[in-house]
């Protein structure tokens, strides 16, 4: 049972994730949806909301939404309706956003993940399709609008308020991202904005049934900030509630430099969006065959893969989850495991040295230089005794930096373990010859000097002398 986050309060968190779908064109128009440097390049009569322009739905947006819905375990609605959501803002060309209101394409579902070794389940409320707005840049006294992004397809995934800690929320978001990337539905880049996370958070007295007033946190562009923003917000709300004050229902933005949330608007009037069914579009009607066809294109999903890794490779549950959290990493692991025939070692090296370097150097998994075959070969060399575990660490670092093949590195740097008994014996003789005093002391009872001799042999052999052989000969020679 995990420790509750706060003493007196229950934390209730729900997340809304907006994922930009990986299509060529906009959701309702035929202009390009891929990133463009120049502003206002990806435009059309529909995107600019010109008189008489009409939306026509992009089949890819439906396909990718259904795909994600199936991966989330959602029920795919066979008839989903588009709705208009009205508000005025310069980056919203029509004065309304085409979204889905009471009949979204996906309903229900669940996401599982681990937090501190404990299995968590977060229920999905719904997922619906909608169009993205343009981008506004604010200068002094005026704002500039670029409509390239207006009309890009989005899938908005909404959870039930099931999360109870900032860490859980961040982990949930990471898990959703990994699923999105597994499916190639969205590239899940928080920094660039292809995936956006909004958090809803409220506190209630411990054990109380009724939920408290919640605030919405926006503009969080990394998983780390998701955690930090929520942490700040929790303490802010707790302080207010403990002082007997009320929480204002509002939207707040996160400032990462100050590590604070601040109110987005001085006074927030609840916006009346006046939803009604979009009369320019027919409901999206899907057949069982269509849904089944998409189901058949689903790749092995992280959870199923993790379970398979546990069975096939004997990985412990936690390891399997880490290994499958990133599709590229999971593929890498399998290759290394198969080629090296040592899945435990493969897992250790990936979860240990590899991830460590990945984090330090801030590299994406796709960009690592170490070939799977090379790492597998290195593991094999350890297992065969060709190199020691210690030497392997050196080899690994060299591979990481240069991407060179492990056997080449071992050869060129002469790092192979010395397993020729004659050579080892010679080195031992050399060391013993140079340390008569210590031999004297050892023979007179200081048995802990044994380590000294081993160390010297290692030094002399640049760490490459085979430890088993050292032990075999050293003891003999010392006792004789």
């Amino acid at each position: 049972m995990s420790k509750p986050y706060l003493e007196n309060w229950d934390v209730v968190i729900g997340l809304e994730i907006h994922a930009q779908l990986a299509s060529q064109t906009k959701i309702f128009a035929g202009d390009s949806a891929t990133y463009s440097e120049q502003p206002n390049q990806n435009i059309s009569t529909v995107t600019l909301g010109m008189p008489g322009a009409l939306p026509v739905i992009n089949e890819k947006a439906i396909e990718l939404s259904v795909k994600m819905g199936l991966a989330l375990g959602s029920e795919i609605r066979k008839k989903s309706v588009f709705s208009r959501k009205h508000y005025f803002y310069p980056d919203l060309p029509k004065g309304y956003q085409i979204s889905q209101f009471d009949l979204p394409i996906c309903e229900g579902g669940e996401v599982e993940f681990f937090v501190d070794g404990e299995l968590k389940k977060v229920r999905i409320e719904r997922a619906h399709m909608e169009e993205d707005a343009g981008k506004s840049t604010h200068r002094g006294g005026y704002s500039l609008i670029d409509y390239n992004r207006a009309g890009v397809p989005l899938l908005e995934i909404v959870t039930k308020p099931d999360m109870t800690s900032p860490k859980e929320a961040a982990e949930y978001a990471r898990t959703v991202r990994s699923i999105l990337r597994y499916l190639e539905v969205c590239d899940g880049n928080l920094e660039e904005g292809s995936m956006r996370c909004d958090c809803n958070i409220s506190l209630k007295p411990k054990g109380a049934k009724e939920l408290g007033i919640r605030t919405e946190l926006k503009n969080i562009n990394s998983f780390r900030f998701v955690e930090k923003a929520l942490e700040f917000e929790i303490s802010r709300q707790a302080a207010l509630l403990e002082a007997g004050e009320k929480i204002l229902q509002e939207t707040r933005l996160y400032d990462s430099t100050k590590n604070k949330t601040f109110s987005m608007r001085a006074k927030e009037d609840a916006m009346d969006y006046r939803y009604f069914p979009e009369p320019d579009l027919l409901p999206a009607e899907l057949t069982d065959e269509y849904i089944q066809k998409i189901r058949e294109t689903l790749p092995e999903l992280p959870k199923a893969k993790a379970e398979r890794f546990q069975k096939e490779y004997g990985l412990p549950e936690y390891d399997s989850l880490v290994m499958t959290s990133d599709k590229a990493m999971s593929i890498y692991f399998e290759e290394v495991a198969k080629l090296s025939e040592n899945s435990k070692a493969a897992s250790n090296w990936i979860m240990g040295e590899l991830l460590k370097n990945l984090k330090e150097d801030k590299v994406e998994f796709e960009d690592i230089k170490i070939e799977a075959a090379s790492l597998a070969a290195m593991i094999k060399m350890i297992d065969s005794g060709e190199i020691s575990g210690k030497i392997a660490k050196q080899v690994f670092l060299e591979m990481w930096k240069t991407g060179e093949d492990s056997s080449k590195i071992v050869k060129s740097k002469g790092l192979a373990q010395i397993s020729d008994p004659k050579i080892v014996e010679d080195i031992i003789d050399k060391v013993l010859a140079a340390s008569p005093g210590q031999i004297e002391q050892y023979r007179s009872g200081k048995s802990n000097l044994y380590g000294f001799f081993v160390g010297q042999v290692m030094k002399e052999s640049r760490g490459q002398a085979n430890p088993a052989l050292i032990n075999k000969f050293l003891k003999e020679k010392l006792e004789s």
Binding site: L54, K94, G95, F276
Partner: protein, 490 residues
């Protein structure tokens, strides 16, 4: 000048006349008459003559003529015409020049049609008298103290005054059928979904449909045939085949034996105007004599049609007009130049200045009907009643082939007469709105001139996709009454 487009084409082919001569004579007419009618917001002489020249070349070459080859049209200013200002009768779009053609305009051009100019209309198609136009009211060519009807007033007036051979209008609640009736022309509104709405300024998306004006029934159908059909740019167009209405025109015998024509009890009960009653009686008499059988049908819910219509139309309109904010295009207040307006004021100033009173009223009503707490009682309720009205019509069409009804409560009324009375304004549309609610096709046939030199027509309504019924009955009426022979003395 010409009896029909068919007659015009025959004369072109025979060399009796050229397209350029024809177009020039229309422009002459416009020059001499439109000052007092104001049917046109803009004209495009150069482009029209250029197109006419190309037509003459085509005629000489012996190539097959398009359905609308060389036909001079006036186009209601709701249709986006590339390179030609498209104002929707509003200050908001007074300088808007679209870089694209509406799909129907593309089709018109591909069939050889040419555009004389953009026709006057009520602002954003909201009105029944063409009095809300930013460009001033259009007048009825038969009696210049009267309105031509609306919202496609300029379209009707231009055809009636022989300033255009045919015209495009839009019909959301009667805006083609009613001005046709007021101006003594044919007015056809096809089934919802027959004609693409892409590039047509949207008023109420689920009600709007392009409609056609002409002097003769066959020309309205010819035009409809030329521009109807499924459009990939408009998800709300139907894939039901467009019949060859022209072929039907050629082969129609004129015999109505066995034809069952419905009379709607609730409409019949509402006729009070003497001219309308007399016109309806004459039409009934004629049709009976041609073998038609009249059947009484009842549509009890049509008495709620106007309310349901207004709720649906204003809600969709309020939404559709949200895009007019001066940000990307459209009217921007001069105050905006000063840089002293906040964003909210910028929006409010642009829109308040850009829209006329009637449009503003409807936007307010529409947003109110959609707003939280009122949505169920207003918009949703109206949509439910809409469904029931449609079902009642469907039931009626099991018993009859088409319905005969009045077009409006009266003939053309005087200018300023209805403008300040919202309820009377509404009830103007009593006979026409339910046709749009149910997505049905409707046709106005002019029958006779009545008091004050005002034309009076009747309305025919058919089931979805059954425009052929309108054609047959309409053609019989036209063959008898020949209103196209009447010419207003402008």
């Amino acid at each position: 000048m010409f009896d029909s487009v068919k007659d015009y084409h025959e004369k072109l082919v025979s060399g009796e006349i050229t397209a350029v001569e024809t177009v020039k004579s229309y422009f002459e007419k416009i020059k001499s008459l439109d000052g007092s009618i104001n049917a046109f917001i803009s004209i495009d002489k150069e482009a029209a003559i250029k197109t006419a020249e190309a037509v003459d070349v085509k005629v000489k070459s012996g190539k097959k003529l398009g359905l609308l080859e060389g036909v001079p049209f006036s186009i209601k200013d709701m249709f986006c015409t590339k390179g030609l200002a498209t104002t929707a009768g509003s200050r908001m779009l007074k300088d808007f020049v679209p870089p694209y053609d509406a799909s129907v305009i593309k089709k018109l051009k591909s069939q050889g049609g040419l555009i004389l100019g953009k026709a006057n209309q009520d602002e954003f198609a909201m009105g029944s008298s063409n009095e809300t136009s930013f460009f001033g009211p259009s007048l009825n060519p038969w009696n210049k103290e009267r309105v031509p009807g609306g919202s496609s007033g300029g379209s009707a007036a231009s055809v009636a005054a022989r300033m255009a051979m045919c015209s495009f209008g839009t019909d959301t609640g009667g805006s083609v059928r009613q001005p046709a009736h007021f101006c003594g022309t044919v007015g056809l509104k096809p089934t919802y979904g027959r004609v693409s709405r892409y590039g047509v300024v949207a008023f109420a998306s689920s009600l709007d449909q392009t409609g056609f004006f002409s002097l003769k029934v066959e020309d309205a159908f010819r035009t409809a045939q030329a521009v109807s059909g499924k459009d990939s740019n408009d998800n709300t167009t139907s894939s039901v085949e467009v019949p060859d209405w022209l072929e039907m025109a050629r082969s129609f015998s004129g015999d109505l034996k066995g034809k069952k024509i419905g009379l709607v009890k609730e409409y019949e009960e509402s006729v009070v105007d003497a001219a309308v009653k007399d016109t309806m009686d004459k039409a009934k008499e004629l049709l009976k004599s041609k073998g038609a059988e009249f059947v009484e049908v009842s549509l009890p819910l049509v008495k709620h049609g106007v309310s349901a219509y207004y709720l649906v139309a204003t809600s969709e309109a309020a939404s559709n007009l949200s895009r007019y904010d001066g940000v990307r295009y459209g009217h921007r207040s001069e105050l905006a130049e000063s840089g002293k307006l906040s964003l909210e004021d910028f929006y409010a100033q642009n829109r308040t200045e850009g829209f006329g009173d009637e449009v503003k009223r409807r936007i307010l009503l529409g947003n109110f009907a959609l707003s939280s707490g009122y949505y169920d009682a207003y918009y949703k309720k109206a949509c439910q009643i809409r469904s029931m009205i449609r079902d009642q019509y469907m039931d009626a069409f099991k018993k009859v082939d088409c319905i005969l009804a009045p077009v409006a409560a009266s003939t053309a009324f005087e200018l300023q007469d209805r403008i300040n009375d919202p309820m009377r304004k509404f009830l103007n549309d009593y006979f026409t709105v339910t046709v749009n609610l149910a997505g049905l096709p409707g046709l106005t046939i002019p029958i006779q001139k009545t008091e004050n030199n005002l034309p009076c027509g009747v309305q025919l309504i058919a089931n979805q996709f059954k425009e052929v019924e309108l054609f047959e009955v309409g053609q019989v009426l036209e063959n008898e009454f020949k209103f196209y022979k009447e010419v207003p003395n402008v």
